[in-house]
Symmetry: C2
Subunit: 658 residues, 2 copies
Amino acid sequence: MNHSHLKSMANAIRFLSIDAVQKANSGHPGMPLGMADVATVLFAKYLNHNPDDSKWFNRDRFVLSNGHGSMLLYSILYLTGYISIDELKNFRQMGSKTPGHPEFGLTSGVEATTGPLGQGFAAAVGMALDESILKKQFRINHYTYVMLGDGYLMEGISHEVASLAGHLKLNKLIALFDDNDISIDGATCLSCSDDVEKRFLAYGWNVDEIDGHDFDAISFAIEQAKKSGKPTMICCKTIIGKFSSRAGTSSAHSDAFSEEDIKQMREKLNWNYEPFHVPEDVKNAWKKTVERAKQNYTMSFQRVTRKEEKEWIPVSSTGMTRESTGMTEENAGMTGYHAELQRRLDKHLPDNIAGVLADLKKQICELMPNEATRSSFGRVMELLTESMPELIGGSADLTGSNCTKYQHMQVINSNNYSGSYVHYGVREHAMAACMNALMKQQVMYVMTHDSIGVGEDGPTHQPMEHLASLRAIPNLYVFRPADAVETLECVSIALEKKESPALFALSRQNVSYMRKFYSDIDQSANLSKFGAYILCECSKKLKVTIFATGSEVEIAVEAREKLQEKGIGTRIVSMPCWRLFDEQSDEYKAAILNNDSIKVAIEAGSEMGWHKYIGSNGIFIGMKSFGESAPYKTLYEHFNISADHVVKCVCEKLVYIQ
Amino acid sequence: MNHSHLKSMANAIRFLSIDAVQKANSGHPGMPLGMADVATVLFAKYLNHNPDDSKWFNRDRFVLSNGHGSMLLYSILYLTGYISIDELKNFRQMGSKTPGHPEFGLTSGVEATTGPLGQGFAAAVGMALDESILKKQFRINHYTYVMLGDGYLMEGISHEVASLAGHLKLNKLIALFDDNDISIDGATCLSCSDDVEKRFLAYGWNVDEIDGHDFDAISFAIEQAKKSGKPTMICCKTIIGKFSSRAGTSSAHSDAFSEEDIKQMREKLNWNYEPFHVPEDVKNAWKKTVERAKQNYTMSFQRVTRKEEKEWIPVSSTGMTRESTGMTEENAGMTGYHAELQRRLDKHLPDNIAGVLADLKKQICELMPNEATRSSFGRVMELLTESMPELIGGSADLTGSNCTKYQHMQVINSNNYSGSYVHYGVREHAMAACMNALMKQQVMYVMTHDSIGVGEDGPTHQPMEHLASLRAIPNLYVFRPADAVETLECVSIALEKKESPALFALSRQNVSYMRKFYSDIDQSANLSKFGAYILCECSKKLKVTIFATGSEVEIAVEAREKLQEKGIGTRIVSMPCWRLFDEQSDEYKAAILNNDSIKVAIEAGSEMGWHKYIGSNGIFIGMKSFGESAPYKTLYEHFNISADHVVKCVCEKLVYIQ
């Protein structure tokens, strides 16, 4: 592949990008023009991938963290056979596979949803970490490339993930920095004086600086990076909007070009074609790069026949048998390795999990522990992680308090990736983002210390608006279990949500075992799966329904006793997950909501959102301000989150109504 | 002050800290034991402050970013006369001035609310930036010291603020890093391999490393730092929990010590006193340090008599006349400088502001502009910033799009601090945290591009849960104005909220001028101050009330027309600020909410919270998922946020009811 070929191939990216932005009258041409050369070398000579099997597990990953330059990636995906030319013509339009910023799951060949600055970098670090762990278990072996710009490196998350990657020596991670000295407001020197090279050396990275328009330099840098024992940052000096009249200026970043601009650019580069047209020889040059990539794909499958690698059978996304590779079911066999990897890719739970959970539930129901739900969570996960090696966990320097590490778990570090626990350090944002939550990933987020129940650490450490914030996020299941049984039930549900993240808000303080108040003797039913359920029925005519979650269910039960004593029939609804309740049938919801009763909600947080269930006139018992520093029982009294206050409010309401 | 004195003074901090943690049976002794020597040298020899005038504007600032070690600061505040010994005995108890983490506004001598890791560092950078700006205008002249630990430097925000401070060469900022190699999970090497020195050099900082228990080294480092033309990071190698049996281990971080531990420590340090007792000679040594500090205070006021500094009159927090300094009203005079500074400290608006706003409102009412509310905001602030030099603004590399910089504004940079605009770079978190929003600071946060109205940039750029998240935060006024007049009214309100931050959610797309639908001819009344008001009354019997905010008010008005045509009396309530509405009288609220009508809310975001106003059975028209990438009008149709859909839902409801 000589320079003349590479030039034309890069120019194909440039013109497709411009043509699409012009047609949409929206988008960002500056980055694709600047990074076309780097991207061409990477895809043409190095990236292992296969458009016919885009989910091949052992492919190299390419993450476009600077997702605003999405047309760079879409152009390549067209030229390598992932998407059609019509998709480019539909850039940024409703229903297309070419949205403004790349979206994982929507477009074949897109590895990560990017756009929010720094998130793609974090996702790439997560992928590289994943590769490091899996290569020990399955001899997985691939690189993760991530492209990013100045702004991404200014974001705080870039510090967290780069520091983590350096610490863990993720040497299969190669970052390509579009070092063009231009930000939206103007030259980067307006706002930043960082020495990026020195900064990344401080993180323990390998750092290189090259001319991002010099094909040989790009190749050499990538080859050197692949040999490095550390993650590599290649600072590619480029010109934003290269070859356009706005080259080297911030005005090249977004906005469509003028027709005159584009005409001049076509003349300058001798690209005398209609919009969206790529000449055959350039198309063929790109096709050849796919053939190169596919050879590696085939080799990867054929390696299985070598005696010493018998156990290693890389899997394709479409199944096990690959005629094209000459591999038959017979020689592939169904080794333990293969079956296990396939199970994880399919997100199938191990066969014994249902039994493990059922046994544990029985134990808990007998034990009736009064314990913090963070401890209950630890109790459940201690067992689960033993049976599920795919559960990789960690904590941002609060391992003991979060109850997230269990005796049998080994720590992952740069000398040994075969464990399943990551000490993330005080890098919460990196920890969350590495796990790619924007991409419908099945991640369990553990947030302990979930209210004023934190006590003496005071208002800076007491969540207030957090439950409301989290519940407002689409597709996130927020669980706030009341006791050990609900915690177990909620974990079981999260395991089944293959396309949703789950969040566990867990108490620091001990809570009483609540399920004992449930009348039915059958312990096997998962009551939490309804989102809300009647924990205690009233023993008189129903006048009051109390909704509560987590540590406040205990208060609800206490209030109910006092109300019943006064002859006021009271029902308790425990509500560990709003979203699950919203998904129930109208009949079920109507029965639980019972609009004829006086409705009360108790939660030691913001009222935001509760009125959907208790109505405009419902009584909310919770927080209206930030918290205070004191022992937690004092705080509950101080903020009137108590059974007596519930009783008082209900009685006032009854007088008002009568 | 010889070493023996300093040792005893530091040990006083150590034992007071331990005694308080023991008594509370809660808290963090490790940090105070480790950093007592550094803190003693700083307060004894360098910090300019005055316990009798704790708000003295020209004092040095000390920010304890590692706020968990609050007893270090509280001990010093007791020893220097800010708080009583009883407060130490009440550590972490309800109503005390010594909460778990320091809180600004609650405790005299506490400069920033800290606890969330990295926030105090950000606040300190904000303070140092403030000093740089004000020293040009008022010859303000003081240092900002910030103490922090490993965890703070792992957080992403540390990167953003350190990079900003380096870029702006904030040389009056001196950071004291508790470099003890210990985190909660264990040795810091478990999770971090950063070379902190190299990292901060990359940011353009001056860096030093010292033995944090060597008094001379501490003094020398601070003196060198004060001479530096850059911000300084002093890495103080210390031993966490020094002199205790848990010295140098993570178990020293929190948890009370055993009685035996403490007994041994008292013996080792020859500190044979009852808990909370400090011997007279040590108390006196601390008192002397206050005298030193007060001398600088007095000198600062006396300098006014020097001819060349006549115009510079530093102000005290308690007023202008200071007998103690020998300064009389006569020699102090009331120079323009002084009056202006006093005005800003008192947060008084300039006299002409009301007139400026009234004139502009009149103009807008005549002009009736159809424009994006981000542009309306720019229109208002363009004028305000001319009259209010205390308005310091900025953007995270979206200046043009946010409409936050105006023609007359000069940019603040390291060569010239006399401007009023900061190019923050892509550092949103730093930008917000520098302005200290956790501390009831009067900050206006501008969030433009506030919905799917962003259009083609797609779901990663379209806010969804954000309004709900923000509205759930105590004491934050969230404004989402519908047009230019509401924008102006909301800005006027924010200017009056001296103890609350305000947030403006503003559209990218143009919106129609809505106030023209308001019948009353009097333009001077600020309707937005009610939070919600009747924009259009129904012209028939009231059957439907439609609530809407921001860009969706336009849709509400369109829907109303269609409903009225069908004979369905419909009223529009524009609701630019929920919190203000919640603060109104019950009568006003009942009149607006009108529970007898069918209620509809339209907002292109999450439904979270709306049911408080529209009831459990109200109709919510908005978003249930993340957005899509397409032109914004297409998106509004796609997500059924349209007048026709409102009409359809209302008609269905009417059928259902009848």
